[in-house]
Amino acid sequence: MKLNKTKLVTEDGRRIDGRRPDELRPIRIDIGVLKNADGSAIVEYGNTKVLAAVYGPREVVPRHEELADRAIVRCRYRMLSFSTTGERKSPAPSRREIELSKVIREALEPAILSSQFPRTAIDIFIEVINADGGTRTAGITAAAVALADAGIPMLDLVAAVAVGKLDGVLVVDLNGIEDMNGEADMPIAIMPSLGRITMLQLNGVLSPGEFKSALSLAISSINKIYELQKEALRRKYLTIEE
């Protein structure tokens, strides 16, 4: 049965985990967590934990996939078999994972200056370690800093967050329970300095007015995440200097 009876937002405007509607979960960004990858990062949005690794620009295998005028960007989003609540997830790629790999690639690719590296490949691997809502958005945030960590020239970072509707209230950064039982879930990725939207999806129902408010709510939250991304990158270079 659906848990529609449980209140997701209380009368005093608090959510099940005590947050206000426009409050993000605690966000942690660690950069350079893998030795072999050219760039890597772990990003946590509350209990959601995602690892991103970047290899490249490197030689394209198989060779026939290379493009003469630009680097190809390859992306795989995957949930580890134990990352979900309840049953073990089969390791075979699901239709959802195939779609998300494409959506995430299209969210990141506009930021990458891929014409500077013709006949190469840039590979992005996103592994969901623990899933509690917002895995694609945490994955994009992680992959963007991993790309920067790999030294790949970009127009801007990409930061992402989901906006949703719970009991008629617009909220930001849905957790797993909110995502399952809410009326709408709208993940958005933006290049924050340029104000360009690179990913926009909606799963649920919104009125045109709600959509516009949701969009501006997302933008202000994404700017907060952007600051955390930049701070994490700065922190990494400070430790190298020391």
């Binding site: 390859r74 360009r196 799963n203 129902v205």
Partner: protein
């Protein structure tokens, strides 16, 4: 793994010729950039299906078929029928499509249509229960792209909606002692219960211009697109941005206005076309 698609090389002269026409507010086939191509629907092209539709939108052709089967409900939704949407780009549809299981584009297409129908509650799945918690109708929507000339999402959504609106629940009897169900597909008891119509409107960005319903060659030079799923009661029931281009918030809001207008127009047209067959 999802990889940067190989795009066809388009000669600069062709690119600028198309862009030039669009900058004047027209498609290459002379209609306005905010106009759909001629829509043509043929019903019952596969009589063995519970409903089938051949839809033509200009030169794009989509074949959508519905099969109703008796199945089990999902454990988390014991009192609802099951909706499953599949899509396939058949190799006959374009020289670049290859045989094989659905690729990421086909999966994305199917999932956009699945979400639009599911989230809007377009189909009254709660009325497709035979024995609560045990037996329900499974509604299989299968979409085949027969010929490619752009705008597959909008065309597939229209085809699916048309096929669903023309589906009837067959007569069935539940044997009280064994619990087995006998179906007589020659007798129909009621039309598939539909709560509301849904249409998708995909806005393509070509150069700096917004265009709906592009032809194949126009779509090849579009940097990206945004699809809004719109229900007949004027709600947004799904969004998907596709492709490598980006959008500003201004562009998104303009695209939304176009989608709300055109969505309403296409739903009205579809209703008119379905009414003729009844």
């Amino acid at each position: 793994m999802s990889s940067t698609p190989e795009t066809l090389l388009i000669p600069k002269i062709k690119y600028s010729a198309i862009l030039n026409v669009i900058s004047k507010g027209f498609h290459v086939d002379r209609r306005s950039v905010m106009e759909y191509r001629q829509l043509n629907i043929t019903y019952n092209v596969a009589p063995n299906a519970d409903s089938s539709v051949l839809l033509r939108l200009g030169n794009t052709q989509i074949l959508a078929g519905i099969k109703l089967e008796i199945g089990q409900p999902f454990p988390d939704n014991p009192d609802e029928g099951v909706l499953i949407v599949n899509a396939e780009y058949i190799p006959a549809a374009s020289p670049v499509y290859e045989p094989g299981p659905p690729d990421e584009d086909a999966i994305e297409l199917a999932r956009i249509i699945d979400r639009s129908l599911r989230e809007s509650r377009a189909i009254a799945l709660d009325k497709l229960v035979i024995t609560p918690g045990k037996r329900v109708w499974s509604l299989w929507v299968d979409i085949y792209v027969l010929d490619y000339d752009g705008n597959l999402i909008d065309a597939s959504m229209l085809a699916s909606m048309a096929a669903l609106a023309n589906t009837y629940i067959p007569y069935y009897e539940v044997d009280q002692t064994t619990g087995s169900i006998r179906i007589d597909r020659n007798k129909k008891i009621m039309p598939l219960p539909i709560n509301k119509y849904v249409a998708t409107v995909t806005i393509n960005k070509i150069g700096e211009y917004m265009v709906i319903d592009p032809t194949g060659e126009e779509e090849a030079i579009a940097s990206g697109s945004i699809t809004f799923s719109v229900s007949e009661d004027n709600y947004i029931v799904g969004i998907q941005k596709r492709g490598m281009g980006t959008f500003s918030t201004d562009e998104i809001e303009k695209a939304l206005d176009v989608a709300l207008n055109k969505g309403k127009e296409m739903i009205e047209l579809l209703k008119k076309l379905t009414a003729v067959t009844k």
